[in-house]
Symmetry: C3
Subunit: 312 residues, 3 copies
């Protein structure tokens, strides 16, 4: 593995899950692996879980961490080739990436979708720019199209809480007041393609994800039908993909309730808006796995960092 | 001690002061105590001394530090139960606190009074929310009502500079162009309740602090009378408590001068506005303890962290 | 050396370059030198290279680093003596500097020129205020007048890429849409005063740097004539010094091109605006040293920190 840009970079999911769970038992076991190695975390957008869990993961491997917030500590970058840079951007990715990679052994990058221009978001300029021009491994801390550290933490969590050989997992859209990116949903869909599960996606019409990503997936527009006999229900809002970045519905009947959840385990990547996306009773009840998902962010990051350190 | 939320969490002030002073002599003595432990510092407001002294304190105990600025790196939190979260707040304390406590062994929190709604400030939602929902010890880095790390540093400083068995300590209000919180004054008043001193509070009428906090304290409206024969004069502005958050007076005659100070030692928590709160001659003279108070912030934080690490 | 405020603090440039190049070969050789020492980095302005390379340098010496962004995490400081501080500034340098120096063993400071008031910029209030009132060594991370860590990295880079005993080095102004400070140009000019080179400065009329800094330098208004037979061409924009802080020209004919560069090596401190300051072909070609200059920022900082640690 050269970079960890998407779940497609996972070599063997069962092995990775096994290894991550073992690492969770003895987080300090590889404390010497990252000695004198530096993880640079570049945030072009806000972060809480990703920021702290990545730092914790690095620390568990003995790595040092340097954090850079581009929003308020840096400047905007240029990505297009051949541009006459007489506008806002002060530096080109062709300089920024190789420069930063001289100070860091691995670079993590968070840069969200802007949800205005589908093609521009799909180009994943920041992530791909660093992957192309930096001389060190890049870790995706959430890009326009994917959030593979989250999806790996999700897979670990499902494995930990499933005694079934092939659980039924449902990804359900939920309402939200703001337009949100598709990254978490995309990566979860892709992850379920690697996981031995019966997987169903449910959402109102108009909220279809990128058909290239959902190719071969069961899509069910009736939420109740989709949730029937589910073992795990992953709830997440996303904005429309076809009517790109638009909020088409805030239909509260799509909010997840305890009644709808039945006996399934509840999952969400957080942050979550209570009583909009999911009702209190679910989050405060014993079937919620959201805190454990967040905990597993440390070990998904730690596993990825370990693999990148070992591959060097 | 489970948390350090206010000076009421101090088990024995004389013992703590003795221990902090010993720690100041050999700051590295407990360098292995915090090994592989992480201090998370969450700032909902700006910080200079608290930020750096807490990091230094953690470093002296061998701890790692992760800093999170909620203002510009995070998002606003929701604290009320049962809310339909369709407004600005993206995450509830019921998720944020347990999540963060999975990445940190101790969490320090700074969230100031907003000085608009007395009841809301008094609820200390951020601090108490973390104390309630986080699974790890919480340290108050200044909350609406108190700043107990500052007060502990102040007590250490008085002990270092007093050969008297029972010094006279005066807390004097001073003018300031902006409305400031009551936290520093409150905690100093409470600290003097634990310290063997003759303690007098002086301020213009209308600037009475919360009567529950000053219960049993001498309050003197005549600054000159209050300052007479003082050994330590602690100067601090605060806004009105009864006319909540208002600036009722900027009367320059309340500024502390060298003439008023007499032979007493001068104290202030910093930052301080020169020639508004106190004149240059005092700050630049030999009786000022403000730099030493700031130095003792490291050791008050280090003592609190040590006690929390030992209690785990 | 007490502080590193400008290139004038370099004791012997040939020795320093030799030592820095040796350090680059074995960056971890002095890993125990900075053990239990803390570098405080105070940013009053944005930073990418300086931020990360200084952290890396400190790490290579075993130092811990505390970063403070005054813009969004702190508050504005007052520098004038005797001021009645009833305006925006919440703290005086006379308190801030000694306080911070109690938490740090070395302090690095970045505070740019504001390009509005020549005398005010020339006073270098932030840098000199800390140097005067802090009790620890100060490192200039770019002040209004100079950027000596950059200039040291530049000198190391020239030495690495020159087999000549006395190379011809040209500093050429280039157009830029914004008014930029003189710091990088000033320090490079001063550095060339210490370096055994034939040194020529070229810029349009009206862009003369401070004559005190360029005293004795060859100044050539004809860029083509200046560039003739150059071994190294350092390109940099700066605003007018005589018509202080103004953009007098954006004449694109001053942009550096591959044709103009000839066989010379190309240098720039970065960030650089492509196709405004210099054309793509130069930056993407084999004669560009800009990535290596950025790499040498680590070793210039590491050398300075090492010398300050040893001098204590």
């Amino acid at each position: 593995m050269q970079h960890y840009l998407s779940v497609n970079d996972i070599e063997s999911l069962p092995d990775w899950i096994r290894e991550a769970r073992a690492m969770k038992e003895t987080p300090d076991k590889f404390l010497s692996l990252g000695k004198r190695k530096t993880l640079g975390l570049l945030f072009f957008n806000n972060s809480l879980r990703t920021r702290l869990s990545s730092q914790k993961a690095a620390s568990n491997l003995g790595m040092e961490v340097m954090v850079m917030n581009f929003g308020n500590e840096g400047w905007s970058l240029e990505f297009a080739d051949g541009t006459i840079m007489n506008g806002d951007s002060a530096e080109h990715i062709r300089e920024a990436a190789p420069v930063v990679s001289q100070y860091c052994d691995i670079i993590g990058i968070r840069a969200f979708a802007q949800l205005k221009d589908k093609e521009k978001d799909a180009a994943e300029m920041v992530l791909n720019g660093f992957a192309k021009y930096a001389g060190v491994p890049i870790v995706n801390l959430e890009s326009p199209l994917s959030h593979p550290l989250q999806a790996l933490a999700d897979a670990i969590t499902i494995a930990e809480h499933s005694s079934l050989s092939r659980p039924k997992v449902v990804l359900s859209w939920a309402p939200h007041p703001k337009a949100l990116p598709h990254a978490v949903a995309n990566s979860f869909v892709q992850m379920m393609g690697l996981y031995d599960a019966e997987f169903v996606i449910t959402h109102p019409r108009g909220y279809e994800l990128d058909p290239q990503i959902t190719a071969g997936c069961q899509i069910q527009y009736d939420q109740d039908a989709a949730l029937k006999d589910a073992d795990f229900v992953y709830v997440k809002n996303w904005s429309s993909y076809s009517d790109y970045g638009k909020v088409l519905s805030q239909d509260p009947s799509w909010m997840l309730t305890a009644a709808k959840l039945g006996k399934a385990k509840f999952m969400h990547c957080l942050p979550v808006r209570r009583n909009v996306v999911v009702e209190d009773a679910v989050l405060d009840g014993p079937q919620s796995l959201v805190i454990e998902q967040a905990n597993n962010r440390t070990f998904s990051a730690q596993l990825v960092l370990k693999k990148l350190l070992e591959a060097k």
